[in-house]
């Protein structure tokens, strides 16, 4: 039984994700970059669905594409970027940065190649498809209770920090 996770969908979604991720870092207009990032996030949500993680896919769409990206677009509209489009988009050290990032990528591919024998990496799905959300909820409120509370504290600190940063006079 393998209805959703066909190779065609995997290649389609990952090519869409990578191409629009490249568009994010190359577009001059920040609004276009944000819209490309939304395309990347939605196709990643599709990949999560293929990995039998429907709850994470829903959180990805609701929180990332719906929440965080709206925040980004708000700030892009708030800071006036009309002048910025006419400036140079890449900094002076872009060559060094490119070489460093690509060598990091080579290292990662090398590690994945070498380590693929250690993990049971060619194995296919073992998780049950149903009750995913229920099991995540049980894990969050059971085994991961303390990290859950710490995450709520982190969000409180982030709210206060954002207000303090963006306020004119405290």
């Amino acid at each position: 039984m393998n209805p959703v996770a066909t190779p065609f969908f995997f290649y389609f979604l990952s090519i869409v994700a990578i191409v629009s991720a490249i568009a994010v870092i190359t577009r001059k207009n920040a609004v276009h970059a944000a819209l490309s990032l939304i395309v990347t996030l939605v196709s990643l949500a599709g990949l999560y669905l293929m990995l039998y993680a429907p709850f994470v896919a829903g959180v990805q769409i609701v929180l990332y594409a719906g929440g965080i990206m709206v925040l980004f677009l708000f700030v892009i509209m708030l800071v006036n970027l009309d002048q910025n489009i006419r400036e140079i988009q890449f900094n002076k050290q872009w060559m060094v940065g490119l070489v460093a990032a690509l060598s990091l990528g080579g290292l990662l591919l090398f590690v994945i190649r070498q380590g693929s024998a250690i993990f049971p990496i060619t194995q296919s799905a073992t998780l049950p498809e149903g009750q995913n959300t229920q099991q995540i909820g049980l894990a969050l409120y059971g085994q991961y209770m303390l990290p859950f509370e710490i995450a709520s504290l982190l969000l409180l600190v982030a709210i206060v920090g954002a207000v303090v940063m963006a306020k004119k006079r405290i």
């Binding site: 988009q89 693929s116 920090g161």
Partner: protein, 101 residues
């Protein structure tokens, strides 16, 4: 096109991570640098969910914590961008030179 394994997902996540790193290291616009950080976090999330297919639900739970972290980081980072823009009238990182020696 054979069967899709965890290895395929790891390669996609590595590509996204490298693209995000290139964005952080080469762009001048600080809003796009924050978006590249989101790309990096998403690559990590894809790794976690891909491994959770093999090792149980822990990876998915952890990816939810990573998403929470990304929300907090975006809120504080965009607040900093607004404060920076108010002071300097620009969003280029190489013009933030107040503390530079």
């Amino acid at each position: 096109m054979g069967e899709i394994t965890t290895l395929h997902y790891l390669v996609v996540a590595a590509a996204l991570l490298i693209i995000g790193t290139i964005g952080v290291l080469t762009r001048r616009n600080v809003v796009i640098i924050l978006m590249s950080i989101e790309l990096i976090l998403n690559a990590v999330n894809l790794n976690l969910v891909a491994f959770s297919r093999l090792y149980g639900l822990h990876g998915q739970v952890f990816s939810i914590f990573v998403i929470t972290d990304a929300a907090a980081e975006a809120a504080v980072g965009l607040g900093i961008i607004i404060a920076f823009f108010r002071n300097k009238e620009t969003v280029n990182v190489d013009e933030a030179e107040l503390l530079r020696w």
